[in-house]
């Protein structure tokens, strides 16, 4: 069986690492990479290198919700299926409450929550009735207090909630919904959240990608609907 895999946020960080890792999975026939940063996507494709999977990159701003139905429809038409949807695109602008602007709130929720929900809704139209998997990336910030990260942390709490709800709501359709919450991980986003941190001392995106790949394999059928913490113990 070959599978078509769509990954958002594939231009950097965990999204890029997941793209590289999924390209190595033997049953991935098509890999569709989506992100706002076109140059970053091309770099991801270059890092994937030779693969038997057909790789397509799509540069678009996922906060443009109106464009998502056409995006997903186009992917399905071009590749004939959508079997795996990895929602990894994320945004963070850490500020104290009084410095958190409406624009900050809107952008954070648009990228982290609204676009994820729209991607899932549109993809499910094509995934129903087949064994498919949706994996959403939240954060350990979703479930613990993070002063100064109010928009980001609360948006990630929404990701956990929507993932758990959809795991139940989509039960019986053949679609499993996963949610992983990475702890401190050396990504560009983490640099914004914790600029004082040395990225060499914390978990690497490739380690999260390894967990993601294991969850998306066909044999895994027990960890959906649970907030899976991915954290490197020192």
């Amino acid at each position: 069986m070959s599978r078509v895999c769509v990954i958002t946020g594939a231009s950097q960080g965990i999204g890029r690492a997941a793209a590289i890792r999924m390209a190595a999975e033997p049953d991935i026939s098509h890999l569709i990479l989506v992100a706002r940063n076109g140059e970053g996507l091309e770099e991801t494709k270059r890092m994937i290198g030779a693969t038997k999977a057909k790789v397509e990159s799509i540069a678009m701003d996922l906060s443009d919700l109106d464009a998502i139905p056409e995006l997903v429809k186009g992917i399905h038409e071009r590749h004939g299926s959508i079997d795996l949807l990895l929602n990894i695109a994320g945004y963070a602008e850490p500020k104290s409450l009084l410095d958190t602007t409406d624009e900050n709130i809107r952008t954070t929720y648009a990228v982290n929550v609204f676009s994820m929900l729209a991607m899932i809704r549109e993809a499910v139209r094509y995934m129903r009735g087949r064994p498919g998997k949706i994996l959403n990336v939240a954060s350990t910030a979703a479930t613990t207090s993070r002063p100064g990260w109010i928009a980001y942390a609360s948006s990630k709490a929404a990701v956990v909630s929507l993932s758990q709800t959809l795991a139940d709501e989509l039960a019986g359709t053949g679609i499993k919904v996963y949610v992983v919450s990475p702890g401190r991980c050396a990504t560009e986003l983490r640099q914004k959240l914790a600029p004082e941190e040395d990225p060499n001392t914390i978990m690497q995106p490739s380690q999260v990608a390894e967990v993601i790949a294991s969850l998306l394999r066909g044999g895994e059928n027990t960890l959906d609907g649970q907030n899976i913490i991915v954290r490197q113990q020192s």
Binding site: S96, P147, G148, W149
Partner: protein, 228 residues
């Protein structure tokens, strides 16, 4: 007695190795400089406060203080190329006063009580200092001398000085091409007067290196949890 204050926020984060100026880093969810501004907000005896910061961050710093409702009495001015120059520019931007308090945004765990005790002390010139708990030797590549740590003091801020002698001492130091890393040294070296050392606190940490922020988060959580 009229009291002014110079709050140094001139760091550009070089030693942190990151682009964000240190005063904008978050501690307990709030920028470092906001912690200091909150500590002094209720001290009405301080009449005028000048914040020195890099010219390119004047607007951001002023907006931050305004957004937190802490801009009363505070003006932001451009700092200098060195800490010493920033203090001198801050002093020049203040209206003449009897006493000036010097503090820095990267010591966010200072308390309102620290400022009040400093102001209330009878000495005209004073600063907080703590003992050095480790051995300090003189040497470059090899040991060249032994220092008696009982004679040494770890200099903290805030500091307090008589305004006119400090202004004069700065002018003299600048004219002589002398540079000092803080003002008690400069004041003493220029013979501007006696400087008293008050007992400081380990909690009044200076955020210099990345690990300092991790320590400060723990100290802040402990302090807040203790009702401080």
């Amino acid at each position: 007695m009229s009291i002014g204050m110079v709050l140094l926020a001139g760091g550009v984060g070089k030693r942190m190795g990151k682009p964000a100026p240190k005063q904008f880093l978050l501690l307990g969810g709030k920028p470092l400089i906001i912690h200091v501004a909150e500590a002094i907000s209720g001290i009405d005896s301080i009449g005028e406060i000048v914040v020195t910061c890099p010219a390119e961050h004047i607007d951001d710093t002023a907006a931050l203080l305004r957004n937190h409702g802490l801009d009363r009495r505070i003006r932001c001015v451009a700092g200098g190329a060195s800490r010493q120059e920033s203090v001198q520019l801050g002093l020049a931007a203040l209206s003449a006063c009897d006493t000036v308090i010097i503090h820095e945004a990267v010591r966010p765990l200072v308390s309102s009580a620290d400022f009040q005790a400093l102001i209330a002390d009878a000495a005209p010139n004073a600063f907080y200092g703590i003992q050095i708990p480790f051995t300090v030797l003189r040497g470059r590549g090899k040991v060249e001398g032994i220092l008696d740590r009982d004679e040494l003091v770890n200099v903290q801020l805030p500091q307090k000085f008589a305004y006119a002698p400090l202004v004069k001492a700065h002018a003299e130091a600048a004219a002589a091409g002398e540079s000092y890393t803080e003002d008690a040294s400069l004041f003493y070296a220029r013979g501007a007067g006696e400087v008293k050392i008050l007992k400081g606190s380990e909690r009044n940490l200076k955020i210099t290196h990345p690990s300092d922020l991790i320590t400060a988060e723990a100290l802040y959580a402990d302090w807040r949890g203790g009702g401080g």
